[in-house]
């Protein structure tokens, strides 16, 4: 108990030191807290690693992340790293706050239009194709190696062609996202539909269940872990696809457009603010899918309470 209290006190002190350290290193004595902070941080992290509680498991990465941001701020400001090389986190936060409207409109263009449309169409097509070819072993054996090959290809390269076909606005980006997401979904759904065991399928047969009954009651639920795998993988791929497709041409808004034009104009704080938006969007959509996965596949062994070794 006291041991845990010392740990948390150390965490508090480390946080307090990080906040308290002045960025302006003019007075010689101000080196002291700056030198003390990493020491305190490391000790707190070391002690947290020894704790078993859930709070410590969450606090470890959070404290580590804060430490990285602090070190970034200190090094960039203290060593006078040029702004065009790496802006300090504080400047990024200011740029984020000052450009909320701009960032919001980029988010709307890229995420709410291109990513979501492409993601839904791509995942839906992949899923339905897997269901459609489920009964044909020939089509399955033929499509799987091709789909695997397509997954390895740099599909974002199709973006300029998509722009030629579907125009500069978001539909061309949605097309790229669709193409990027369809194959992982197809392959994973197919693999998932094979997950149910022979014994379980025999049981369904002994019940006299039809193909559709077996599919809905047994094989689709058994496929859900694999399907959610694909949904998670695709949520990252979709965002990457939409952003990179915008590097090839877009109307004057969109996250990819913002990143490429503002880095050419050396406004790196806005670029980093856009990246923050992208990271938040990626992280939150991933968390939402993971939450859905927990709700749907609560029976899967990976969600049972695990013993730590």
């Amino acid at each position: 108990m006291t041991q845990a209290r010392i740990t948390w006190l150390g965490v508090l002190v480390a946080c307090g030191l990080m906040v308290a350290t002045r960025i302006n290193i003019s007075h010689p004595f101000e080196w002291f807290p700056i030198a003390l902070t990493p020491l305190c941080l490391l000790m707190a992290l070391y002690r947290l690693a020894g704790e078993k509680s859930r709070a410590a498991r969450i606090a470890s990465p959070v404290l580590f992340g804060l430490g990285i941001i602090w070190a970034w701020e200190m090094l960039v400001v203290g060593l006078h790293v040029p702004f065009i090389l790496l802006p300090p986190p504080s400047a990024i936060a200011v740029a984020f706050y000052n450009n909320l409207g701009l960032l919001g409109s980029d988010f709307d263009q890229t995420f709410l239009h291109a990513v979501i449309a492409g993601y839904v169409i791509g995942c839906g097509t992949g899923f339905l194709t897997a269901l459609a070819i489920d009964r044909s072993a020939f089509l399955q054996r033929g499509l799987t190696p091709l789909a695997n090959m397509f997954s390895a290809m740099p599909i974002v390269g199709i973006a300029p062609i998509a722009i030629e076909w579907f125009g500069f606005d978001w539909p061309s980006k949605a097309a790229v996202v669709t193409l990027m997401t369809v194959f992982p979904m197809l392959v994973n759904t197919q693999a998932g539909l094979r997950e149910s065991g022979a014994m379980e399928r025999d049981l369904m047969r002994s019940y006299g269940a039809s193909y559709w009954h077996t599919l809905i009651k047994l094989r689709l639920p058994a496929a859900m872990p694999m399907i959610f795998n694909a949904l998670k993988l695709n949520s990252t791929l979709a965002l990457i696809g939409a952003v990179v497709a915008e590097f090839f041409g877009t109307p004057t808004r969109g996250m990819g457009f913002r990143i490429s034009t503002e880095s050419a104009r050396m406004n790196l704080d806005i670029v980093w603010a856009t990246i923050t938006v992208a990271a938040l969007a990626g992280g939150i959509s991933f968390a939402l899918i993971a939450w859905g996965e927990r709700a749907v596949t609560f029976w899967h062994p990976s969600f049972h309470k695990r013993q730590t070794n």
């Binding site: 690693a49 090389l85 390269g157 990143i259 050419a264």
Partner: protein
């Protein structure tokens, strides 16, 4: 002995044709669909461009739509002949030669992959052996997978260009950054995959930490290295192409894609796309080959 062996071999041959038949059939079907789509998409423009004095029948329209200069959808043979023209009819150092572009992009992808491999394995070793790193760094490695890292490519290129690093260095940095995540995650899993019994056996031998690592953890982790390497390769080629977009680079497949996009050169875009896919497939093939030979040298399993 001989007859059985030949029976075995022919059985193997039959199994091989059986496994090759479906993908080949579907590939052929896709190519036929491609030609039909090229006809349907190019037909309006082809009719508009046709010689009014020449024949106007179906075959003439079809031929015209399959041999346009700037088609909506070029046919596979057009793409291939265009590639062949660029490779054989221009000197190797000419920017019009696609081999030069491919070599440039492949070089960036390979250098970056090597960087990512070293960094990824080093980080995995650190995470496996240090509780502090495991608790605090590993969640970030996993979380970073949900972030569209490729989006930072233009910024890295511009920022490194400002400090004087141009050409290969920024591209390799981006590719290395992209490819080290799957390798770290895979290798951490791999180093942890020996079970308690195997670890206990090593302990009864009084093996040191280094010995456990080199004799048990490292060999066992190979089964995890190859799948993550495949993911890393796919990311690496994409990363190398995207890294060529922002600076207006003159060489590289990504630069060709962008130039083709600006000047409406359809064939240039398709050629670059086909070659980029070929680079990815070749690299994946190399990984497969490595996996296969290691498997063979270990008597059939990893």
């Amino acid at each position: 002995m001989l007859p059985t062996r030949s029976v075995k071999r022919s059985a193997k041959a039959i199994a091989m044709t059986k496994s090759l038949l479906p993908p080949v059939t579907i590939l052929v079907a896709l190519i036929i669909i491609w030609y039909i789509a090229a006809y349907v998409l190019n037909e309006p423009q082809a009719i508009a461009l046709m010689d009014p004095d020449g024949p106007q029948n179906f075959w003439a329209v079809m031929q015209a739509s399959w041999s346009m200069d700037r088609p909506v959808l070029p046919t596979p043979d057009q793409i291939l002949s265009n590639l062949g023209d660029s490779i054989f009819n221009y000197p190797l150092n000419s920017p019009r030669n696609f081999l030069l572009q491919t070599a440039f992009t492949a070089q960036a992808a390979l250098t970056g992959l090597a960087l990512g491999l070293i960094l990824g394995i080093a980080l995995a070793i650190g995470i496996v052996h240090s509780r502090v790193l495991d608790r605090s760094l590993m969640p970030w490695v996993i979380a970073s997978q949900t972030i569209p890292i490729l989006a930072i490519a233009p910024m890295v290129v511009v920022a490194m260009g400002n400090v004087g690093f141009t050409g290969l260095a920024p591209k390799a940095a981006i590719v290395g950054y992209l490819s080290f995540f799957p390798i770290t995650v895979g290798m951490v899993k791999g180093f942890r995959s020996p079970d308690t019994m195997q670890l206990d056996l090593m302990r009864t031998y009084n093996a040191s930490g280094t010995q456990i690592f080199t004799k048990l953890r490292w060999p066992v982790s190979m089964a995890f290295l190859f799948p993550s390497l495949k993911v890393a390769v796919a990311l690496a080629v994409t990363g190398a192409i995207v890294a060529e977009l922002p600076t207006g680079a003159q060489v590289g497949l990504g630069a060709r894609l962008l130039a083709g996009s600006y000047y409406g050169q359809t064939m240039m875009m398709w050629g670059a796309l086909v070659l980029a896919s070929l680079v990815a497939i070749t690299l994946i093939g190399c990984v497969r080959l490595g996996e296969f030979s290691l498997r063979a040298s270990r008597g059939g399993r990893l």
